[in-house]
Amino acid sequence: MRRVAIVGVGMTEFGEHWEMGFRELVAQAGLRAIEDANLAGVKIDAIYGGTMAAGRLIGQEHITALIADYMGLNPIPATRVEAACASGGVALRQGYMAVASGMHDIVVVGGAEKMTDVPVSDAAVALGGAGDQEWELFMGATFPAVYALMARRHMYEYGTKEEELAQVAVKNHYNASKNKYAHFQTPISLETVMNSKMIADPLKLYDCSPISDGAAAVVLAPMEMARQFTDTPIEIIASAQASDTLALCNRKSLTELRATKVAAKKAFEMAHITPGDVDVCEVHDCFTIAEIMAIEDIGFFPKGKGGKATMDGETALNSTISINTSGGLKGCGHPVGATGVKQAVEIVWQLRGEAGDRQVKNAEIGMTHNVGGSGATCVVHIMRRAD
């Protein structure tokens, strides 16, 4: 396998893009990444696009071929990847494997979702497709309900408090306030979260990530070519993916995501590092409980201690481990298919030292953790500064 580097990144602002459609969002993110990589005049060999529900949300399937067409990239191969909310991360992994294998040299990986063209209720149904239709959504369990079950069990088994869940939102909104690409630009207080409307007990409105529009893109190249495009290539030193049952009722535990544990373990082995070596990590905080479970399952904190660690500030910017410096899904926004790629964009900025007010000091090693549905897919990438 060849070594693979990210040589360019770009994204749209996340939020409500009333005046942009799916293809405009992708084009903006893609062009920003291509400019960032100084790709002018260089042949792109293939594109991979992650999107979860373009068919339901904008009525358009065959979406990656459309993007190739719209961006004037025909006739290169254009492949859509779908793994619910992990679509972006899995697309990145497909691009990584294509370059690592030697099949392609220059690959652009994009992720996008256009979610605000439909009413919230329609978006909720589209997202519900990430779980088990027959066992969950059809019975009325939308995603907040499924994660609420996990939160309740976590509270029961480990004494995790609602305030600790709320603190995840407070931290991530604070980080988002330092990220001009983030959906939410204003810090919030613990009281705001605790007093927000109950969605699925114990998850309140501010425990949930928002419905956003947005796109993100990265340009991949083999390590030996990377310095043609950038002085600061960021090497992908591990890529791992795992799956689990879609239905929550078929799992042995409600308080951990097995796919996260398996994928993270594989990734650490591949990168020859331990969780303690990671400086900055973007985890999949679709709900606040998801971040607490993620930092435990990855191995940053022991099982059951994630809530306390969050409350103690151990996951804040430039503390024990900087978690979700972008603002995460909670603060930066969650255009589903874009999220996994956005996580990579944020880590690249952090490792290059380009993260501005939210820069993690001396960041050497970064990690992304992208989950599909309630944990039936997990994809993890570890990156390192290559200079």
Partner: protein, 361 residues
């Protein structure tokens, strides 16, 4: 830039010679609705800025409300012979008939028939101000002596929808003429900002409207209200500090205050014309009742900017200057406040009965 002279404005000497409003007396408190749907009252009241909304009685509709407002307007104007009213246009999104005009019912009721033209208008919440522009033009052109523009609605909200807290009922009628000695306020200038923006709609046969949630805000209400208001200020040369009152369409109690802030207009200039917190959003009547509330207290020489908004979407903006005649007609007006204060609270049960939300009725 100085305020332009009359020749550069398009009002052509037309003004308001009388106005009247009508608001049904029943109210339902937002808290009563939250009890049914498991919401928190304080969150709704703070979030929407609406404490209670007006509810029409079971025998009231947009036509009866329009008639009440029209009668009050005729009385206020001092017009002895309503047959001199040459045009009546009624803007509403809840006309009782799909085919058959509300305007003819009004015309007959106030004895303006038969030598007049009449028609209904629909532009979501701005049908009434569109009617006002039409009668202004007809008066200015000499086609008619007096024209009447009405906004009247008994707006609908699907049970449980956010609209249920805001959709109220009410009407306002304005009589326009060209005689200076009859005029209580001159309409100096008007302009509109219109685009095709599907933020809110109701299909034929549908009981309740659909809306785009948050899309009804920034790209719809704010874009059109701000653009039309700025257009008016640019075309007339007037600046926010030269305006004494500003009335903006008020789908809830918060949007007009936010819009005023964006326009650089102090909240105090908006408060007098802000009635939605007490009666809900009266749709086609909302900004017109707001204007009436301002005229109830305005002094000669004061300047008012009125900007409506209708989903779909568009805004009409007006620069209005109060004349010396306002004081002498004031005694004949039934002030907005008298309707706001005259109220009886009902529970959700009576509300669903009056609003015919029970399908078995």
């Amino acid at each position: 830039m100085k305020i332009k002279d009359d020749e550069s404005m398009n009002g052509n000497g037309v003004g308001i010679i009388g106005y009247g409003v009508y608001i049904p007396r029943f109210r339902i408190d937002a808290e009563e609705i939250t009890k049914i749907w498991g919401e928190e009252a304080s969150r709704i009241k703070d979030g929407l800025g609406i404490n209670e909304k007006s509810v029409p009685d079971i025998d009231e509709d947009a036509a009866t409300i329009a008639v009440e407002a029209a009668r009050n307007a005729v009385a206020h104007s001092g017009i002895a012979n309503p047959a001199e009213i040459g045009a009546i246009f009624v803007g509403s999104e809840s006309h009782p008939y799909a085919v058959k005009p509300t305007a003819t019912i009004v015309a007959e009721a106030i004895q303006a028939t038969p030598n007049l033209t009449a028609a209904d208008m629909e532009f979501a919440c701005k049908g009434g101000t569109a009617a006002l522009q039409c009668v202004m033009g007809m008066c200015a052109a000499g086609m008619i002596k007096y024209g009447m523009a009405i906004g009247s609605d008994t707006s609908q909200g699907r049970p449980g929808d956010a609209l249920e807290y805001s959709a109220g009922a009410g009407g306002a009628a304005f009589i326009v003429g060209k005689e200076k000695n009859e005029m209580i306020a001159e309409i100096k200038h008007t302009c509109s900002f219109t685009t095709d923006t599907p933020d809110f709609w109701r299909r034929p046969g549908a009981d309740f409207p659909s809306h785009g949630g948050r899309f009804t805000g920034e790209p719809a209400y704010f874009k059109h209200i701000i653009s039309a208001s700025q257009m008016l200020m640019k075309e007339t040369g007037i600046k926010p500090d030269e305006l004494d009152y500003v009335v903006l369409h008020q789908p809830n109690g918060r949007f007009p205050l936010q819009a005023a802030k964006m326009l650089g207009i102090p909240v105090e200039k908006v408060k007098q014309g802000l009635v939605t917190p007490m009666i809900g959003n009266t749709y086609s009547a909302a900004s017109m009742i707001g204007l009436a509330a301002v005229l109830d207290v305005a002094k000669p020489g004061e300047r008012i900017m009125l900007t409506s908004f209708g989903s779909g979407a568009g805004s009409d903006s007006f620069l209005i200057e109060v004349t010396d005649r306002i004081e002498e007609k004031r005694a004949r007006a039934k002030p907005v406040q008298s309707f706001v204060s005259d109220k009886e609270h009902i529970d959700y049960g009576r509300y669903v009965k009056y609003r015919r939300k029970l399908k078995s009725l």
